[in-house]
């Protein structure tokens, strides 16, 4: 079972990367860009076969290790 964890900075937390990329895209004349936020994606291949269970375990991993709850939020999505 393949699970995707998407980790983003919380709203209101400064995202220096996103800011710099935004500015650069404007210099490259992608002027339609309003805002950029950069996050991480972690794709996990699990032996688990129940998608319910896979989600739950991934959430545990997120809380225990993969996500810094102080500044980050996350979403879990089962890919296949």
């Amino acid at each position: 079972m393949k699970v995707r964890l998407v980790v983003m900075l919380k709203q209101g937390v400064l995202d220096p990367q996103g800011k710099a990329i935004n500015q650069k895209l404007h210099n490259l004349e992608f002027s339609e860009v309003q805002d950029v936020r950069v996050g991480k994606v972690i794709d996990l291949e699990l032996t688990e076969t129940s998608s319910e269970k896979a989600k739950q375990r991934t959430t545990e991993m997120a809380q225990k290790l993969l996500v810094n709850g102080v500044i980050e939020n996350f979403e879990v999505e089962v890919l296949s």
Binding site: L9, K10, G12, V13, L14, D15, P16, K19, A20, Q23, N68, G69, V70, I71
Partner: protein, 736 residues
């Protein structure tokens, strides 16, 4: 915080903001009416421990701050000393303890960013960073995570801005479990006649905001930094500030470029309490009024209130007063560096700070009483209990085994794991980087001048006897600078303690400062800048509040006119090792006693300042004369550890002479008597002769050469084995 939910300002809210009943009463008297929320916010941050030094100010005032070479002492953004040839060194140390507990990476990173701004705001190009770190017990569950984040954060920020991190210190102790100390120091260099101050002047002059946009970062950070931690800490987390070292780098370059013009009247970074403290302090120092229109503040988020903007601690921002006819020049420079630039107000003759937002006056406070009436406490002090006497010593380990164990202990293990993550060579002027000399040595561009830099403190001595500990911290910094051949010039400090409302803690503060004062006075080593961090305590498993060990970190700066005359701590094959100073075998509070005997007992080694001065002056002279080719002071771990560190630094072994008789070997090898240096010479006769003439104890103790440490018994420990013992600690701590 949104308009609908604006809280009612009353005593209860004031207390939530950290103002006591009496303090709030004073606010009411000053204002003559109920303050607005924004006004309350301004009072609460300006009167917080962090900004007002209300518990420590009375004691800090007793420290010596003057010398002929001191250009600016405490009171400016950083201390300034004359280093010769028309240059000045500007330096300061600052803590980011609480933020580093909440988010180790960002807490430490923004600590580095903040101290850099304190230094370049005065016109100096930063040329070196140092960091004094204190972590919890290595086996505590959070220690690894905090060490990892803090070290990454310091490296991440310092490496990116391109300032070499050249030194520091690290200790581990259970009293820092969950309350690490992260003290960052920056040293910069400016032309002596081009130093920028923060006192605003010129009624009508524009107030300029530059750097990053303002968000809701760290609102309440300054008051948070003054509140002790409990289980509640987690809920305070959303206020974490994130640093952007890229923007800081641009800000450094833009400010230095602008400083080449005559546009700036006054300048100050927005540090703790952001716009509030910078505006209030600049206007206050200049004795003028200031009016801000927050509509012009560059904002990252929408619908920010006046309260939020005034208290935001968004990073990488500066406030300047410019000559009105030069704003265009300034604007161009900041645009070139792609930084925000905004005129957000002007100076007035009202003596008030007036804050407007959306056409409404959100705050109007008279500046003089805000500063003059700031609380000042003479809190009660109480002595700390004397340490238990040294108990029975049942010695079973051989000297060899003991040495290997000590080399691997938390406080003596190699710090290479840390400094290998810090860029220490950038700038091309680093003469001695971490591990290569007792103080780091950085050359000043286009000169032969070297700045010798170090941070020192031995918290276990301070806990056992705060007066001795305070003096010892100063003395060790002075020794480390001396040991490279430089003249110690001045000190910045970072005084980290527990809750000052506890008389015992206040007693430690008073005694540490008393000890520092004596040492600084006799060694002619004044304090020119510093920072105090209080309420460093956390709750143990039983819920009892535990104070950190009293930790007055001392940042020392010295100067050597000709860097080519400086010495490091590496052995030189074929040379003799000579011990300068008297070995008496003091064992109280030694690392040996703690690590091998399991006792934190006894009095710390006593400090004789006249002896320190005599021995140090002798060593420095002999270095400059060329009679000493390498030098290492004897501190934690004693004589044998000092010699071994020299072996490890050079990869050259040595053969130890038979110890002086009349002392047990442990006391001789691992005692921590002060005022001692191990020096390397190829001219032993001359050196001993000179020592004799000056009445300085000196004795040959070892011969350099070979690839191991050869003991008087004939047994040998190879360098490889020593290194393995020395490197194991961090590998094990950070594994997994």
């Amino acid at each position: 915080m949104n308009k609908k939910q604006q809280p009612i300002v009353n005593e209860k809210l004031a207390s939530e903001f950290g103002l006591s009943t009496e303090e709030y009463a004073k606010v009411l008297t000053i204002m003559g009416r109920n303050p607005s929320l924004t006004e309350l916010g301004i009072f609460s941050v300006m009167w917080s421990e962090h900004c007002s030094y209300k518990s420590s100010r009375a004691w800090l005032k007793t420290l010596p701050t003057k010398a002929p070479w001191v250009i600016h002492g405490p009171g400016e953004n950083a201390g300034v000393v004359d280093i010769g040839q028309g240059f000045a060194a500007i330096f300061k140390m600052e803590s980011h303890n609480h933020p580093s507990f909440i988010e180790p990476y960002q807490g430490a990173a923004t600590g580095v960013g903040g101290i850099l701004r304190d230094v370049f705001t005065m016109g100096a190009r930063p040329i070196a960073n140092l960091n004094a770190l204190r972590f919890g017990s290595p086996d505590h569950s959070s220690t690894r995570h905090i060490v990892d984040g803090v070290v990454r954060g310091i490296g991440g920020y310092g490496n990116c801005v391109g300032v070499p991190t050249v030194g520091g210190e690290v200790n581990f102790h259970s009293s820092y479990n969950g309350n690490p100390l992260v003290n960052a120091m920056t040293v910069g260099v400016a032309r002596k006649d081009k130093i920028f101050l923060s006192a605003a002047a010129g009624i009508g002059n524009p107030v300029i905001y530059v750097g990053s946009k303002t968000g809701r970062d760290g609102i309440h950070g300054a008051t948070m930094a003054s509140a002790e931690f409990d289980e509640d800490a987690a809920s305070k987390r959303p206020t974490v500030q994130v640093g952007d070292p890229f923007v800081e780098k641009l800000l450094i370059e833009a400010c230095l470029e602008l400083m080449e013009t005559d546009a700036i009247v006054a300048i100050q970074d927005m540090g703790a309490a952001g716009l509030t403290s910078s505006a209030v302090e600049m206007a206050g120092k200049g004795g003028v009024g200031i009016e801000l229109d927050l509509d012009h503040v560059p904002q990252r988020e929408s619908h920010m209130t006046a309260y939020e903007m005034m208290l935001s601690e968004s990073q990488e921002r500066m406030l300047m007063i410019l000559r009105p006819d030069r704003t265009d020049v300034a604007k161009q420079i900041f645009e070139k560096w792609e930084l925000d630039f905004a005129i957000i107000g002007h100076l007035t003759d009202t003596g008030h700070i007036v804050v407007r937002h959306n056409g409404k006056i959100e705050a109007d406070i008279p500046l003089k009483p805000l500063a003059d009436e700031a609380p000042l406490y003479h809190r009660p002090t109480a002595p700390s209990p004397a340490p238990a006497p040294i108990g029975d010593l049942k010695i079973e380990k051989s000297i060899e085994e003991t040495l290997l164990q000590l080399l691997g202990c938390a406080d003596l293990a190699s710090r290479a794991w840390i400094w290998n993550q810090y860029d220490s060579t950038i700038g091309g002027q680093t003469v001695y980087r971490p591990g290569k000399a007792d103080a780091a040595l950085v050359q000043v561009d286009k000169t032969t001048i070297g700045l010798a830099l170090t941070t020192d403190c031995t918290p276990r001595y301070c806990a056992a006897n705060a007066k001795i500990g305070g003096a010892q911290a100063v003395v060790e910094a002075w020794r480390n600078i001396t040991a490279v051949g430089a003249k110690p010039l001045a000190v910045t400090d970072n005084l980290n303690f527990g809750n000052p409302e506890k008389p015992e803690v206040m007693g430690q503060i008073a005694d540490v400062i008393e000890g520092m004062k004596k040492a600084c006075t006799i060694l002619d080593f004044p304090v020119v800048s510093g920072n105090v961090s209080l309420y460093n305590e956390t709750r143990d498993q039983e819920g009892k509040a535990v104070s950190v060990l009293p930790t007055p970190a001392i940042g020392g700066l010295g100067v050597i006119e000709d860097t080519s005359k400086a010495v490091g701590n590496s052995l030189i094959g074929g040379c003799e090792l000579v011990i300068i100073g008297e070995t008496k075998g003091h064992l109280g509070q030694t690392i040996w006693l703690r690590e091998i005997m399991g006792q934190e007992t006894g009095a710390p080694p006593s400090i004789d300042l006249q002896t320190e001065k005599a021995n140090g002056d002798f060593v420095r002279n002999e270095i400059l004369n060329g009679n000493i080719l390498a030098c290492h002071d004897v501190s934690d771990g004693g004589l044998l550890v000092a010699i071994t560190e020299m072996v490890l630094a050079s990869n050259i072994g040595c053969t130890l002479d038979v110890p002086e008789s009349g002392m047990r070997p442990e006391a001789y090898w691992f005692g921590e008597d002060q005022a001692r240096y191990v020096v390397v010479t190829s001219n032993k006769d001359k050196l001993l002769q000179n020592a004799k003439e000056k009445n300085i104890p000196a004795r040959v103790i070892a011969y350099a050469g070979g690839d191991g440490l050869v003991f008087p018994s004939g047994s040998v420990i190879t360098i490889a084995r020593l290194r393995e013992a020395n490197n194991g600690f961090f590998t094990a701590l950070m594994k997994g």
